[in-house]
């Protein structure tokens, strides 16, 4: 399966939210990274049919998704950023409602709901009204509704917002497990969510794709530009003059500064392996 964006443009009045985005996605997980206002949600809303594009179009295996109608929507699972529920419904009731919207068979829906609720650890509260759920529980329920009909294209907008570390890992592993034959697009600005599971990462800024590549490719481009600088407390402030500071930690010797710099800084230092966070900071540091 191949999902292709052709010069996708979106204008809000005079503001260009997407500037002719060209992109090709095949089976696997894609992490869409970018700061707030980069155009991630706009891109996802166009992909899910909630917004029309001003120019350009998206094709699935060569067919324009607008002309595919229900055939395309059947393949689509979407977890929106906002927590959208009927607060008076129970978790189970809401999922059966979504199953009815998706025209699923009762038996199939029941078994999927049971299995998914089990996987996200919501089985015990399936008959409780959603209004009594915590933010994390709602987030997991929202993921379940997106996965309900086993979609081939899964679009997840900020899926880990409001989750505790254990739940984050649980969710990450679940996505990793189910993504074998799917196109999964995860929008986030939490780098660690996609660092280890994404096949490719797409960096979006001000409506444009800055770069796209695997974890290795992106980090490789920063090889030899990430340093651990050991400085005294009085010198620490000066380290920032030689590059972007990615982190600070107090050690027995003084201050340990993680520095992103083109050249080796004039302090006692050693080269480090770049991480995705360094990549993020490299591209969005100034914007951030």
């Amino acid at each position: 399966m191949e999902l292709r964006f052709h010069a996708l443009t979106k204008e809000y009045g005079n503001k260009l939210a997407l500037k002719g985005v060209n992109l090709c996605l095949t089976d696997g997980i894609y992490g869409l990274l970018g700061p707030n206002g980069a155009g991630k949600s706009t891109m996802m809303n166009i992909l899910t049919g909630n917004l029309p594009a001003t120019k350009g179009h998206i094709t699935l295996d060569g067919k324009d998704i607008r002309s595919m109608g229900q055939e395309y929507r059947k393949l689509l699972g979407y977890m929106p950023q906002q927590q959208v529920f009927y607060p008076g419904f129970t978790a189970e009731q809401f999922l059966f409602y979504i199953a009815s919207l998706r025209k699923m068979e009762k038996k199939q829906a029941a078994s999927r709901i049971d299995a998914l609720l089990e996987q996200v650890e919501l089985s015990d509260v399936r008959r409780k009204p959603i209004r009594s759920f915590s933010g994390g529980m709602k987030q997991r329920l929202l993921l379940v509704q997106a996965l309900l009909d086993d979609p081939r294209i899964l679009v997840l907008d900020e899926p880990t917002a409001g989750l505790d570390p254990k739940q984050r890992i649980l969710l990450r592993n679940l996505i990793g497990k189910i993504a074998l034959n799917k196109i999964v697009l995860i929008s986030t600005h939490v780098v660690s969510d996609v660092e280890y599971i994404a096949k490719e990462l797409i960096l979006l800024s001000q409506g444009e794709i800055l770069c796209k590549g695997t974890h290795r490719e992106l980090t490789k481009s920063l090889q030899g530009r990430v340093w651990e600088v050991c400085a005294g407390e009085d010198e620490a402030a000066r380290v920032g003059e030689f590059g972007s500071v990615c982190g600070l930690a107090k050690t027995a010797e003084g201050i340990s500064v993680r520095l992103l710099a083109e050249k080796e800084p004039p302090f006692p230092c050693r080269a480090l392996s770049p991480t995705l966070e360094d990549v993020y900071l490299h591209y969005f540091g100034e914007l951030g």
Partner: protein, 683 residues
């Protein structure tokens, strides 16, 4: 408080609605000031007052001219431009002038009347409440002796103070403030962001309450200000220092006031009433999590207060919110209320009750608001009685949303109970005359024939015979009292004669193809009383439709589920089902709204011979010929159905456009519920 004020004006739809209410009030009041339905306008009455002519003389002259049927009745020298209309105008002005001129006689009559009542023994023993109340009334009117009302035009004051549509429109402002200051924040969970301590909450509640009072006062100033300016410009208020008894309809006013003083009191008491009503509305909005939870109790309070207003018990009637709004009525009579045996004037009790209601509602609301946990305690289990099974039927899911989640079933039950209460309390009197008419209808029903002609002749002869017998008794017996006792039995037999004459006249006037049909039921349904009932039923139906359907489309936008519907591509399927359940909700509401009236009238008066021509019924004579009575029922049903469908369409459109339940319900009430209520008041 500035931000609280801004919240009310933040919603453009609500602002548009309020602007429409302001314009509507001005337009309707202008029409009221220039109303010429009696054949003349109030401005023409004022002109007549200003003519300085002998009106009695003019009336005599006009009477003489009106007898000449060959002459043209038009005369441009007359104020109305027509002889017949000018006569009516003269008579009206004369009666108003005489009322003011004979005020001293009125007071004397009042004292004589009270003395007669006290002497008759009907008022119970001395010291009892009825007796003491009469004494108090006598004393009150005695204090007015010496007042001489001014013979001058007072239509401006009368029209300004007897106009109730402004009060009705002001209720829309109360609801808007209540919903936007309290319920909407509750629904959106914004109260979580507000001050969490009891002290902070009480201060916040007080600010919101004060904003509400300021907002309704602002609306009051604009709406009543418009009325004041219009009546002042079109009709004028006259000399403000003249006694209030100079004003038409306020002759029995038991207070020695000037017109200016009365106007001031009127406005202050009206504002007090508005504050009290706003406090009640705010109290209902305080715990409400959804607009329906506030609007349904508010509608019930309104209905209860209307029922209370019709009560024969003076306390119940006087303390109803509907009666409390009628400030002018309180000044047009002198009624004493039994306050633990003491006679207290009603015009004093009412404003005191408004103050108590205002303070009471504020305190109860404040207590409820401060006691409420800042972070809502989620219930561990669902509070809904019905749980749908594990199924994937979209139709059943949408039915559940409409009837259970959105309270459709509950609203149906409430409406049915309300109509049952209304129709069991509404009086459908059967007079002796009506009973006799029903008996004659049993004989005369249907097309005229020789047998019925004979019956009428025989019945007329029978009455004539009885009449002659009575005359004989009176001529033979000198003592009238004895004659009365002896003829009593015959007089009883003569009682149906009035009904007979009516039935006979009706029978003899039947046109070709027409049938004799008992009129009362049809007159009750299609006459002025029936139209009044219809308007109330339409208003109630549209109110319950607004409450039941107001969330239909806004629910998805408010909860955000619309995004999922679009992604899945299920909007059309969901919309089709929503329309289906709109129809399935509207139909029972339609039946509950209109069928009780038909059934009750049918049960009490009978609706016989539906196959007869509509022309056979007097109130239906203006309808096209050839139409049958049952067809009139069908057409009426279709018309009402069309009104219902139009109402549903407007509500659904608002729900879709505004994407906000509170705005939808408010706008529906303003656009759909108020017009029939206004029309009923104008009837």
């Amino acid at each position: 408080m500035r931000y609280e004020w801004k919240k009310i004006f933040a919603n453009p739809h609500a602002v548009l609605l309020l602007i429409a209410a302001l314009l509507l009030n001005g337009y309707l009041f202008y029409r009221h000031c220039t109303d010429s339905s009696p054949g003349y306008t109030e401005a023409q009455i004022r002109a007549k007052y200003g003519q300085n002519i002998d009106i009695e003389e003019e009336l005599r002259e006009l009477d003489a001219r009106s007898l000449d049927f060959t002459a043209d009745s038009r005369d441009l020298n007359l104020i109305t431009g027509d002889v017949y209309l000018e006569r009516r105008l003269d008579r009206e002005v004369l009666s108003r002038m005489e009322e003011a001129e004979h005020y001293a006689d009125y007071l004397q009559e009042k004292q004589t009347e009270i003395r007669a009542r006290l002497n008759s023994g009907f008022m119970g023993p001395e010291g009892g409440f009825p007796y003491e109340a009469q004494l108090r009334v006598a004393e009150t009117y005695r204090k007015l002796e010496g007042i001489q009302p001014e013979v001058s035009f007072s239509g401006g004051i009368a029209i300004f103070t007897h106009w109730h549509i402004t009060d009705l429109l002001l209720l829309l402002f109360c609801l808007t403030a209540g919903l936007f200051l309290m319920t909407r924040e509750h629904t959106a969970g914004l109260l979580l962001l507000l001050r969490p301590t009891a002290r902070g909450k009480s201060s916040l509640y007080a600010q919101k309450f004060l904003t509400l009072l300021l907002f309704v006062t602002w609306a009051f100033v604009i709406l009543y200000g418009t009325d004041f300016v219009l009546s002042g410009l079109i009709l004028g208020f006259g000399r403000l220092s003249r006694p209030i008894q100079s004003v038409t309809g306020l002759l029995p006013c038991p207070t020695p006031l000037t017109v200016g003083g009365y106007l001031l009191r009127f406005l202050l008491e009206k504002l007090l009433w508005l504050w009290a009503v706003s406090a009640v509305v705010f109290l209902l909005c305080t715990p409400a999590k959804r607009p329906t939870h506030a609007l349904l109790p508010a509608a019930l309070v309104a209905m209860i207060s209307l029922l209370m207003g019709q009560s024969s018990d003076l306390w119940v009637q006087s303390l109803s919110l509907s009666f409390l709004s009628d400030t002018a009525e309180r000044y047009s009579n002198c009624l004493m209320m039994n306050f633990f045996g003491l006679p207290v004037p009603r015009r004093i009790i009412c404003p005191i009750f408004c103050v108590l209601l205002l303070i009471g509602c504020f305190l109860v609301g404040l207590h409820s608001f401060c006691k409420k946990p800042t972070v809502p305690v989620a219930k561990g289990r669902s509070s809904q009685l019905f749980r749908p099974g594990r199924h994937t039927s979209l139709t059943r899911h949408e039915a559940f949303k409409q009837y259970v989640s959105n309270g459709g079933i509950f609203l149906l039950i409430v409406f049915a109970v309300l109509q049952a209460l209304i129709y069991t309390n509404r009086s459908f009197p059967i007079s002796q005359n009506e009973y006799h008419l029903q008996q004659y209808a049993k004989v005369l029903a249907g097309a005229p024939n020789a047998q019925k002609d004979d019956f009428l002749i025989q019945e007329a002869a029978r009455f004539e015979e009885i009449r002659q017998t009575i005359d004989e008794y009176y001529s033979n017996i000198q003592d009238a009292h004895i004659a009365e006792i002896l003829t009593n039995e015959f007089e009883q037999k003569l009682m149906p004669r009035d009904a007979f004459e009516m039935a006979k006249a009706h029978y003899e006037n039947l046109g070709e193809g027409e049938a004799y049909v008992h009129q009362t039921g049809y007159t009750r349904l299609f006459g002025p009383l029936g139209i009044g009932d219809d308007l109330l039923n339409v208003a109630l139906l549209l109110l319950f439709l607004s409450l039941s359907l107001g969330r239909t489309f806004s629910e998805e936008a408010e909860t955000g589920v619309a995004v999922l519907l679009t992604t899945i591509g299920a909007q059309k399927r969901v919309r089709r089902r929503k329309l289906l359940f709109t129809a399935l909700t509207a139909f029972p509401l339609f039946c509950i709204a209109f069928l009780p009236q038909w059934f009750t009238v049918h049960r009490v008066y009978g609706l016989e011979q539906p196959d007869a021509l509509a022309q056979s019924v007097t109130v239906l004579r203006s309808l096209p010929k050839g139409l049958k009575i049952w067809q009139v029922f069908v057409l009426t049903g279709i018309l009402r159905g069309a009104v219902t469908a139009l109402g549903c369409g407007v509500i659904l459109h608002l729900s879709k456009k505004t994407e906000n339940t509170a705005t939808t319900m408010l706008a529906s009430i303003g656009l759909l519920v108020l017009p029939p209520l206004i029309a009923r008041l104008l009837l």
